[in-house]
């Protein structure tokens, strides 16, 4: 494992940049444990102070320190992404493995439903969901709903890998040795599927964080829980752009953009690592 990471670092520039960025971002989120101010309190410091040594990212018009607020926001936003990715992985694994292994009618029915979820524009549905839930809307519920809507694309990917695994000899051996379907799928096939599941997880975190930020910025979530989206929401509410309080929205925007790029680079390098041809090509030419 360590050797793999060392090789990735040495030969894969994308991985190295992504890993360093991710370390910075996780460090930022971890700092939230040391914040001198509770995240929900307002007017704890002088409002609208530009960045300085005392307040590295300045303070906002609600009297909060932007740096410490951002540590909480990054933590909550990342946790949201992880939660959605974890839940939706379960769904996509279930659908992908079953459809790919069973084939036939099961596959056709599952894939029709699957394609439906790929095609339907999710954003209006989520907006509608917020519209009827209003104050009942919270962080966990949103994560659950997004997870239930966001499994389809990866289920298709897993299915296609499963279909090729099924035609390999060891599947037949397992069937003839009397293993049950769930045993074969979980014990024989799952290890082959896991690398791709891992790289789709990174992409899924990216996607769900993007949705969360967008919905929060519009105020369609629990606006009192600090996330990157709600930070920008409050900045917009106080017309920070017109008032010239640029540090209030520039720092969250910059950090979330770095998060997206870090996750994306990690996913790309992971994909490349899974494919032995491109891995060898890269090592052979020394990183070109």
């Amino acid at each position: 494992m360590l050797k793999i990471l060392r090789d990735l670092f040495r030969y894969n520039l994308e991985f190295a940049i992504g890993a360093v960025l991710m370390a910075v971002i996780l460090g930022m989120a971890a700092l939230s444990a040391f914040s001198p101010y509770p995240p929900a309190n307002i007017y704890v410091v002088a409002p609208d102070v530009p960045p300085s040594w005392a307040h590295p990212f300045g303070t906002n018009s609600r009297g909060q320190d932007v740096f410490w607020q951002l540590t909480f926001a990054m933590r909550n936003t990342l946790l949201f992404g992880f939660a959605v990715a974890l839940l939706s992985r379960l769904l996509s694994l279930l659908v992908g493995l079953v459809a790919g292994y069973q084939g036939g009618l099961t596959d056709r029915v599952l894939m029709s439903i699957n394609d439906t979820f790929i095609v339907i524009p999710l954003f209006p549905l989520l907006v509608l969901f917020y519209f009827v839930m209003r104050d009942y809307m919270n962080w966990a519920l949103l994560a659950l709903v997004i997870a239930c809507l966001g499994w389809a694309y990866d289920a298709r990917l897993i299915r296609s890998i499963m279909m090729s695994l099924k035609t390999r000899d060891f599947t037949k051996t397992s069937v003839f040795s009397g293993m049950k379907m769930h045993e074969i799928v979980v014990r024989e096939h799952l290890p082959y599927v896991m690398p791709i599941v891992f790289s789709t997880t990174l992409n899924n975190i990216n996607w769900s964080i993007g949705l969360e930020v967008t919905l929060s910025v519009l105020g369609f979530t629990d606006i009192n829980k600090p996330t990157v989206g709600t930070m920008i929401f409050w900045a917009n509410q106080h017309s920070a752009m017109v008032a010239g309080v640029w540090w209030w929205f520039v720092f969250p925007t910059a950090f979330i953009t770095l998060t997206f790029i870090a996750l994306f680079l990690l996913a790309v390098s992971m994909n490349e690592y899974i494919d032995p041809r491109s891995r060898l090509a890269r090592m052979g030419t020394g990183g070109g």
Partner: protein, 334 residues
């Protein structure tokens, strides 16, 4: 020709399934909510100062009919479909008494226009650049272009649009950042108005294209680098076919097929992006309509836009699907 007919029929069935599941989802979302929507609407409306009793009574019946509250769930469900199929979403609450369908049909051309143009631009440009980058692998300029478009790709639409808004609204105000056209111009097919529409669409369009490019670029580059190693490409090169001919007609042509499927699969996501971008730049399309309807508590309008979005996107996907054989002749025989 017969097998093409069967192909179209199965795609049409898929289209119906998408609409069916989509609309059913909207039904269950609205009917399993713990809040009684009708009373909440009425309360919100009277609080906003709407006190004409006649209008309130009209609204209550319209809302009850629309929500289909009362009666068993199955009955509500069928009544709901009746309303949807007749495209009757009642009057809009926020701009009473204009019907919701009128508001939607006013906004739809803006969204369709913006979305269509941006999708075509980013798909064509992304595939072209990706194809070039996959074919001329050593070119430094194409590598740089790849890094740039891929850098924008993972960033969500909102953030890109927001950053453009910061740049062009705050730091360097040369482009209009709000609206669909200059408000003081009369609508019509004259140069001044069309130019104003174009100028207003630059920032929303750039946001959508910037996010979209990277995906097509990466997909095409990967496909092309696989195709160029095929024997027939080597053969063509050895046979002296010009490279300017090999790339478009031998390589890209073959790699294009999965990209058409990709377009159909990602149309929903592009639509989501367009909605958000429209809101950021106050573009008068479905996105602004949807989000301002939420702020105004206009249930009929929110439901109407959601339904139309589902139907429109799946119809567009169906269209791409039935045009698919143009790109892949094998489908006709299959």
């Amino acid at each position: 020709m017969r097998s093409y007919g069967i192909y179209v029929l199965t795609r049409f069935a898929q289209f119906l399934l998408v609409v069916f599941i989509g609309i059913s989802l909207t039904f269950f979302i609205t009917h399993l909510s713990p809040i009684d929507p009708v009373e909440q609407m009425i309360a919100g409306m009277t609080a906003m100062g709407q006190s004409d009793p006649e209008a309130v009574a009209l609204m209550r019946t319209a809302l009850q009919e629309l929500y289909g509250t009362g009666g068993p769930l199955m009955e509500q469900y069928f009544a709901y479909w009746g309303r949807i199929l007749s495209a009757d979403f009642g009057p809009s609450l926020s701009s009473f008494p204009t019907p919701v369908s009128t508001l939607i049909s006013r906004a739809l051309p803006w969204t369709v226009g913006l979305l269509f143009t941006c999708t075509v631009i980013s798909w064509v440009l992304g595939n072209l650049l990706g194809g070039l980058a996959g074919y001329f692998r050593e070119s430094r300029m194409l590598k740089l272009a790849g890094v740039i478009v891929m850098g924008f790709h993972p960033v969500p639409y909102y953030i890109i649009a927001f950053v453009l808004l910061i740049i062009f609204g705050l730091m360097w105000p040369v482009l209009p950042t709000s609206g669909g056209a200059a408000a003081n111009l009369p609508r019509g097919w004259n140069a001044e108005y069309v130019l104003s529409v174009l100028r207003h669409s630059i920032l929303p369009a750039v946001s959508i294209v910037l996010v979209g490019l990277g995906g097509w670029f990466m997909g095409m580059r990967a496909l092309v680098s696989n195709v160029v190693t095929e024997d027939y490409v080597t053969y063509a090169e050895l046979g002296g076919v010009r490279r300017s001919r090999i790339l478009p007609f031998y390589v890209i042509r073959n790699a294009l097929v999965p990209q058409v499927t990709g377009l159909a699969m990602s149309l929903g996501a592009i639509f989501n992006g367009a909605i958000i971008v429209e809101f950021v730049f106050g573009y008068p399309g479905l996105g602004r309509l949807l989000i301002s309807a939420v702020y105004a508590g206009d249930y009929g309008l929110v439901l109407g836009v959601t339904t139309i979005s589902i139907v429109a996107v799946s119809a567009a996907v169906f269209l791409i699907d039935i045009l698919y054989p143009v790109f892949d002749p094998r489908v006709k025989l299959a």
